[in-house]
Amino acid sequence: MRIFTYKLLLFLKLIGREFKAQKLRMGLTILAITWGTISITLLMAFSVGLDQQFTKARQGLGNGIVIVWGGQTSLPYQGLPQGRRISFRTESGIIDLIKSRVVGIDVVAGEFLRWGQTLEYEGKQINKLVCGTYPEYEKMRAHYAKAGGRFINKKDMELKRRVVYLGTKVADEIFGENLNPVGEIVKINGMPFTVIGVMIDKLQDSSYHGPDDNYVVIPASTFLLFYGDPFFDNLVYKVKDGIDSKVVEKDLFRVLGAKYRFDPADESALWVWDTIEGEEISKKVFMGVTIFMWFIGGMTLLIAGIGVANIMYVAVRERTKEIGTKIALGAERRHIIFQFMTEALSIALVGGLIGITFSVAICSLFRMLPMEGALEFLGQPTVNWLVAGTTVFTLSFIGLFAGLFPARKAASINPVEALRYE
């Protein structure tokens, strides 16, 4: 092992001298590898960033949630006609029913909505959608409050407190941008409410009542006190980890079908939006994009690899005499192969190292840019271990592959002819 290490060091030293002797050609080859590495690393890094942003945006609506609206029956059932409207009556204990009877439900919450409500603060008035809901809504729908604030909680529910949680945009509109309105009093339809929190900025690619940054949220109990709304506008639930949302949906139809007397097979009795389904599709689309990027990066590196193979062939030809001399001095095939393989590998790894360094630098610079509009979706390009590992692996492979054929050629040179070669 020690001999091997020393041999490697010696060869690297000699290769270093050779680089010096052939600055231009070696430089160009390394440049090709560097360029290929930057291409593949950045493609991968941006694809990671993009993936993260898309995931985040998808999860802006909520992570793996299902939204349910009452629909209209399309099948006659137990002597009842078709065309009946299904509504979730508030006092019917429907939330508890779903919680206790539907298998696989993790969390469920109802949602009351009232459009065009007036918000007033120091003489400034705006009209917004007011939503009354439960504390469970926070995690399901990713309504996280900025530091110093909070979402509505159980105590608010019990005491029917007049507290309000505001979407980012609402807070900006009524209080001015980037101010902290927690503790301020805002009037909703003339009633004073204390602001308890403002939503953290978030990416959101889908919604059902408009983007969350335009929401005004108050406790469901308070909402009922003011508006006396007899029906939930919709329900939101999340299934337990590892359980198929389709199975849960079927069970929901069974339980609610029994309660509202509709056929569990009647698909239009309830309107169900399963966001998990969409997630699966966009994951697949994204996988396609990622594969495409790998393909392009791989092609770029392949071209760089051909460059290395090319220079190695030239190196073998130029050193024909040297190879002959070495054979005369007792070199075995493996010594000759080792030399050229080490050289090809070194070129690939030096070029790769420079490339990775540049890519990391470019990513860091990119992260300093202000993220707005379309750029926001590029997110944080990241050279993570997967990206770096893949690149190093690809480079080593290319280095070995590019060195293999020239090295074998070198080792099979006829020493007599090689020594005569000028």
């Binding site: 020690r2 001999i3 010096k20 002797a21 005369a328 007792g330």
Partner: protein
Amino acid sequence: MNNNGTLISFSGITKFYDTGRVKVRALKGIYLDIKRGEFVGVMGPSGSGKSTLMNIMGCLDTPSSGDYALDGHPVADLNIHQLASIRNKKIGFIFQNFNLLPYATAYENVELPLIFAGLPGQIRKEKVMHNLSLVGLADRADHKPTELSGGEMQRVAIARAMANDPEVILADEPTGNLDSKSGNEIISIFEDLNKAGKSVVMITHDSNIAERCHRIIRIKDGLIEIDERNGHRETSVT
């Protein structure tokens, strides 16, 4: 190893090259014994086959027919690893153009055959320095070939050939690219090595240099024309 002291034994060695259009008969049947400790000069016009003879002797080339025994062992029986080992340990090659690695120092050039032999670093170091002092270049160990004179380069090449303490030095016109003073120095080194027991086989065109060999073999058209010792003709095959 061998009782009668024969180091190199050629028996009916021929070598044909088939280049496609022409068949070249480089060696047409060489019978030759070289004993341990001999200092042999090989002479002959260009194309006479002396380089082919040297290449076969150095196990770089194989004969088309005939038997070659080195140190009593038939070379034809050896595999590529054993041949590489023989080139490494039993034979020391010297070339007309020195054939030093241009980007390596004198030290590293001499070290090369020791690396091929798989010797550990400390032993290599001792051997490199020993052989460089033998040719009087211990103080030039860090110099690259371009920083050395022709005579010095050839001395480095001798140190390299001697690195693994071979049985025989095979030199193909070692003074061909040198001025007469440097050439004489090189031959003096060969004489010293020979006195110390090494066999030397050397191709040369220079009759003054050939005079200093103990035995001169003249080759013509692939055959040994004259084989004489100390100027006294022993055999003649035509």
